[in-house]
Amino acid sequence: MSVYSKPVTFAILSVAVILVGTIITVIIPMMMPSTQPVSDYIKPYTAVELEGRDIYIREGCNNCHTQTVRPIRTEVARYGEYSKPEEFAYDRPFLWGSRRTGLDLNRVGGKYPDSWHYKHMNSPQSMFPRSNMPAYAWLARKELCTDCAFRKVSVLGYGYSEDEVRAQMNEYKARVTSQDYGSAAIRNEVTPEKLQGSLTEMDALVAYLQKLGRDVKEVQKMGSVPVAEASPTAAQAGNPFEGDKAAIEAGNKLFQTNCAVCHNADGKGHIGPDLTDEEWKYGENDSDIFSSISGGRPEGMPPFGPNIGEDDIWKVIAFIRSLGK
């Protein structure tokens, strides 16, 4: 009698056959620490960030956003340094995603100020009229439930005590509800008055987004990745497009696509500072402004060097200079 007339034997044989590939490509890698390395530089999520992550999961953000920057030149230019395995040691579940209807988010932490996220989550179309992202304004109208917070970090083995979890929550709440909070104005715009003194679901989600890729950026800062600067010759020669009408027009166009979202169409600022006044936080020379645009600045100015290139940065500067006049 062959196996084709013995159903139970057939079933056992089938299981054996499917287990070969399973063991070699899934089970054995699980036994190898190199599959999911753990690094001291990568910290677990705080209780607040974890709540934000759970909201990200609940709303299915992973259906449109990935969280892995691949080692491809254009991808690194668009998003930042490619993803490393150790970054995901505390990710249960992983959230790498499978489709980029929206952008990759693995390097979004620290790229924009919190106010950018509040405004964007409240109404993506107010910042990018052609975006098709759903508005998540209602997240600011829901108080964050923290009842399970300690149980959650315990299940995940993050090692915080119950007091530490409470302290993390209170600390973050104090930060975002304080009048000194840099994004207070926009947070108050999107949060109903009765919740302005509490933690909302949107607060937690912003905390989570700001954590993404943050630790890796810290590691890079400790190394020698410099802020991109104008090449010395260009810095000395000054802006090649100064006063050039066509270049200013081109700069205007670039400004509207890349900068207006935060600095407003007229350059008078909203999320980012006013560019038409006398005050320059990081220096008023052309080469300083070039560095700000090219390499970005802390507190939310993203680096545009890899995206738009040197010539276009000078055109944008020519346009900005034309605003003051």
Binding site: S5, V20, G21, P29, G60
Partner: protein, 469 residues
Amino acid sequence: MSNNGYDYTAVRGFALSALFWLIIGLVVGLWLAAEMLWPALNFAPWIAFGRLRVVHTNGLAFGFALAAIFSCSYYMLQRLTGTPIVFPRLARFHLLLFNVAIALAALSLFAGMNTSKEYAELEWPLDVVVVIMWVIFAVNVFATLIKRSEKQMYISLWYTIAMTVAVAVLYIVNNLAIPVNWTKSYSIFAGANDANVQWWYGHNAVGFVFTVPILAMFYYFLPKSTNLPIYSHRLSIVSFWSLVFAYLWTGAHHLMLTPLPEWIQTVAIAFSIFLIVPSWGSVINGYYTMQGNWDQMRNNYLVKFFIFGITFYGLQVIQGPTQGLRTLTSFFHYTDWVVGHVHMGTMGWVSMIIAASFYYMVPKMAGREIYSIKLADINFWLILIGQLLYTVTLWIAGIQQGAMWKATNADGSLTYSFIESVAAMYPYWMIRLIGGVIYFIGILVFTYNIWMTLKGTKKTSAEATPQAA
């Protein structure tokens, strides 16, 4: 009870369940396609894209496809063993439990209770229900097989056994989690391991839900509908074992260029290419079965469903491994190309074979002829045109989006902002929505035709029967 003591209650119940969840899943799909164009349609949390997409994928993969698979499995099992189902009341309970589980699944996903792991989004209490339901199914499968009066097990039964054992292993391992409360749990695997387990599961859900049981239907219903024996028994043996062996190695081709160790990615791609061979073994077996009888494409309304279905399967299994190659994945992955790829499999292969199987099985079971061959033909052309419009459009969209993401200026900077690559998609998404509507109308015709056949307004038909017995 029908002739020979076969029990068709569960078969009929699952067939109707399949049609019901098919329509629900497609309405949700159309809504999603519209949301891609008009974000204002995301007007409430429960209907926002992120939650709704999961209802669409689960509703169709498990509500529709799995119900159809249970229906046809209970049918083929009895016919191929020559034995009535051993526990018919258990099968009826299976039917009830299935529909309760799918309804609860839909509700919980609308409510945002989901684990985020693709095609395994259900939270742990429902996972437990699914496992119980699967055991109930397996009990009937093996009890009936052991009691069978037909000595040799036909090809379709091999595939049914493989599905039964493989899905159990895959589903349980990927859903291992530690509960926080009744509606929330965390995967026991972290980071790269979780990703590896998930796509081992995700790809084999395609393998053992969208491929293996559909091949079981193909191997049974094609010869039945045409009265032609399958071309090569030996080819089917080789195809079967190499398919079920190789499938499990390939999940990581969904994770190319991610932080997963490179060797796992490379092994996955090697086995993916190898998989072309057993897959095409079945395609060739299907084509050669028709040798010398290709006139049935015109004269027998069912044959075109089977032949087009297996052809889409054949194209699918070439496209899949190809787009997984590192150079091509770096271009195509994360774009709509992949969405087009999946939908050729589901709208082309899976739903065409299920439609043909129902058209053969339901009249047999009801003891009367199909309500209308003409409607079946309309059904065929509508789902064919709708599917092609949908998939080809998304391939082109994917090529454009991939190219826009990679375009650079002379100085190495990026040519397009991301939002420009989104805005460029709107015309394609409009055509996709139209393709979806055409397909949906085809499915409504299909449902009506099956419903009217079951309702039995027509005892005998003036239309010619395509099959002899």
